[in-house]
C-alpha cells in the first residue's frame, strides 16, 4: 500500500514521531554504523582509540592531581577510577550533545533534499555515542581492578544512566541545532558553556573539598547526579541519593520533551530560510 502525503492532515506529533522512528530503524542502524566506522577509519589505532582516548585524558588528570593531592580521596576512594568515570560521563555528554546537534545542522544539505525527519539523525548520533561510552567501560573495568577495587553487582544499572543521558543529549541537541543553523556564533557560546559545565561537575575533584556555596551550585548541575549515580552503581564508590535518581530521570525527560517541542516549532522556519 502506497502512502499518501496530505499537508493539511493533523496528526499527533509524539505518536507520529515514535512510529516514524520505529519504521526508520534500518536507517538509524546504518547511521550508527556509519558514525562508528567513520570514526575508526580516520584513526590508525581503530577501535582501540575509544578506550585509549578517555584513558589518556584521565592519565593526564590523574598524574596532575596525584602529584598535588594523594592517590586516594579522603574517604578512601581510589583517584584513578574516580577520574576515569568522570571523564567517560563528560565525554558521553559533550560528544553526544554536540554530535547530535551537528548531525542536524551539518546534515541540512541532505535534509533540504530528501524527506527525512531530522530527529532520526540526532537519535542515531546519540546512540553511537552511547556505544562509544559502553566501549569505554572496558577501560574503566581494567583501571578499577588494577587499583584493587571491585566492580559492583549493580553495575548493569549503568544502563539507566545511559538511557537518561540519551534523553538529555537528544533533547538539548534538538534545541541547539536550531541555534547552530540560525546563528554563526552560537557554537562558540555553547563551547564556553560546556567548559564551564565541565568544571561544575565533580570530574576530577571530590565534592567535599568545596565550600558550601560552590557545592550547592555543583549539586544543581544535573550532570553531578548522573556522575554520582554512575560511580555508585558501577564500583560502589561515593553515594547516590534517591534525589539524585529523581533528578537524573526528570532532567532527562524534561530536556527531551522541551527539545522535541522547540524543534518542531522552529525547524520548518529555519529550513526554509536556507
Amino acid at each position: 500500500m502506497s502512502n499518501i502525503y496530505d499537508s493539511s492532515a493533523r496528526t499527533n506529533y509524539f505518536s507520529e514521531l515514535t512510529t516514524y522512528l520505529w519504521k526508520q530503524r534500518d536507517l538509524i542502524k546504518l547511521l550508527v554504523k556509519r558514525d562508528i566506522s567513520v570514526r575508526y577509519k580516520r584513526s590508525v589505532l581503530g577501535l582501540l582509540w575509544t578506550m585509549l582516548n578517555p584513558l589518556l585524558t584521565s592519565l593526564v588528570l590523574w598524574f596532575v592531581f596525584v602529584t598535588i593531592f594523594k592517590p586516594k580521596l579522603a574517604d578512601g576512594t581510589q583517584f584513578a577510577p574516580y577520574v576515569l568515570a568522570g571523564v567517560l560521563i563528560m565525554t558521553f555528554f559533550n560528544q553526544g550533545f554536540i554530535g547530535a546537534a551537528e548531525s542536524i545542522s551539518g546534515g541540512v544539505g541532505i535534509l533540504q533534499k530528501v524527506y527525512v525527519k531530522p530527529q532520526v539523525f540526532a537519535v542515531a548520533s546519540a546512540i553511537s555515542n552511547a556505544i562509544n561510552f559502553l566501549l569505554g567501560l572496558f577501560a574503566l573495568i581494567v583501571v578499577t581492578l588494577m587499583v584493587g577495587d571491585g566492580i559492583s553487582i549493580f553495575a548493569p544499572l549503568t544502563i539507566l544512566v545511559v538511557i537518561s543521558m540519551l534523553g538529555l543529549t537528544i533533547g538539548l541537541a534538538l534545541m541547539t541545532s536550531i541555534l547552530f543553523i540560525r546563528f554563526d556564533d552560537s557554537k562558540n557560546i555553547i563551547a564556553i558553556s560546556l567548559q564551564l559545565l565541565y568544571y561544575l561537575t565533580p570530574v576530577f575533584y571530590p565534592k567535599d573539598i568545596l565550600d558550601d556555596k560552590v557545592r550547592f551550585v555543583v549539586s544543581l548541575n544535573p550532570l553531578s547526579s548522573y556522575l554520582d549515580i554512575f560511580r555508585h552503581v558501577f564500583a560502589n564508590t561515593g553515594t547516590a541519593t534517591p534525589i539524585d535518581w529523581l533528578y537524573m530521570f526528570s532532567t532527562s525527560l524534561v530536556a527531551l520533551f522541551t527539545g522535541l517541542i522547540i524543534f518542531k516549532r522552529f525547524w520548518a522556519r529555519s529550513v526554509v530560510m536556507m
Binding site: 502506497s2 502512502n3 499518501i4 502525503y5 496530505d6 499537508s7 493539511s8 534500518d26 536507517l27 542502524k29 546504518l30 547511521l31 556509519r34 566506522s37 567513520v38 577509519k41 580516520r42 546534515g107 544539505g109 541532505i110 535534509l111 533540504q112 533534499k113 530528501v114 524527506y115 527525512v116 541555534l179 540560525r182 546563528f183 554563526d184 556564533d185 552560537s186 557560546i189 520548518a268 522556519r269 529550513v271 526554509v272 530560510m273
Partner: protein, 243 residues
C-alpha cells in the same frame, strides 16, 4: 480523493529572512532588546494550483528565482507549505543536485546503502540492488573504495543510478539532464526516457526547453513565485519563448 497523483491547491509559501547582518546570536539579542524588527517576510510562492495524473510528465519552467526548486522541495515534503494544501499519493524519489550529502570516507557501496535507505528502502533490498546500481554506473570494480578516490563524474554517475533505481511513484528531476560527459548524458537520457515510458509520473525542472518539448506532457510556467500559465506543452512553451 480523485485519481490525481499530485494535487496542489492554493499553495502559498512565505519565509522570513533577517535583514542585514543579524546572523549572530549577539546581534539578534541586541535587536530584540532594542525592539528592532529585522524580519522581512518574503512570498516565495502564491496561488499555485495544479494536478498531475498517473503517467503524466509535468515540466516546470521559469527564470532563476521563479520558485521552481522551492516548489520541488514542497512536493518532496522537505518544506511544509505556509498555506494551501498539497496531496501526494505514494513515494517521491527526488533527484536533486547529484551527490550532495555523500560521505567521502565511506565506500561507494556504503553510500548506496545509506542513500537507498534514506529514500525509504530497506537495507536488505538495497543490498541486492547495489550490484545492479554499481553495474549501471560502471563502478563495479571501484565500489568498495572510499568515495574520496572517485572522480566527480563517477560520483555523479553513482548518484544518478541510486536515484533512478528507486521504486517510486513520483520521480522528481531537477536540472540533471546536463550532468557528466556526452556519453553519460546520452545514457542518463535513455534511462529517464525508459522510466517515463514505463508510466512513471514525473516532475521535471530544467532550462533545456528542447528536453521539455521532448519529454513533458504539460508545462507549468512560474514567474517570481506566481503561476503564469499551466497547460499543454506546446502552447505554454510558445508563450514562454516569446516572453
Amino acid at each position: 480523493m480523485t485519481d490525481h497523483v499530485i494535487k496542489v491547491s492554493n499553495l502559498e509559501l512565505n519565509y522570513v529572512v533577517r535583514h542585514g547582518r543579524a546572523s549572530t546570536l549577539k546581534e539578534a539579542v541586541i535587536s530584540a532588546i532594542k525592539r528592532i524588527n529585522l524580519d522581512i517576510t518574503v512570498s516565495a510562492l502564491k496561488d499555485i494550483n495544479f494536478t498531475v495524473d498517473r503517467g503524466e510528465v509535468l515540466a516546470i519552467v521559469g527564470h532563476n528565482g521563479a520558485g521552481k526548486s522551492t516548489l520541488l522541495k514542497i512536493l518532496s515534503r522537505v518544506l511544509p507549505p505556509t498555506n494551501g494544501v498539497v496531496k501526494v499519493r505514494g513515494n517521491v524519489a527526488p533527484m536533486l543536485e547529484l551527490g550532495a550529502g555523500f560521505n567521502p570516507e565511506l565506500s561507494g557501496k556504503e553510500n548506496i546503502l545509506l542513500f537507498g535507505v534514506l529514500l525509504g528502502n530497506s537495507t536488505k533490498s538495497m543490498e541486492s540492488k547495489s550490484v545492479e546500481i554499481a553495474e549501471w554506473a560502471g563502478l563495479t570494480e571501484q565500489i568498495n573504495l572510499p568515495l574520496r578516490t572517485y572522480s566527480s563524474g563517477m560520483v555523479a554517475r553513482l548518484a544518478f543510478a541510486i536515484a533512478t533505481f528507486q521504486k517510486s511513484d513520483v520521480l522528481i528531476i531537477d536540472e540533471i539532464l546536463g550532468v557528466g560527459d556526452a556519453e553519460f548524458q546520452k545514457k542518463s537520457r535513455i534511462r529517464i526516457l525508459d522510466l517515463i515510458n514505463q508510466g512513471e509520473t514525473t516532475i521535471l525542472v530544467t532550462h533545456d526547453l528542447d528536453a521539455v518539448e521532448e519529454l513533458a506532457t504539460k508545462v507549468l510556467w512560474l514567474d517570481h513565485g506566481r503561476q503564469v500559465a499551466l497547460g499543454p506543452t506546446q502552447k505554454v512553451l510558445d508563450a514562454y519563448r516569446q516572453a
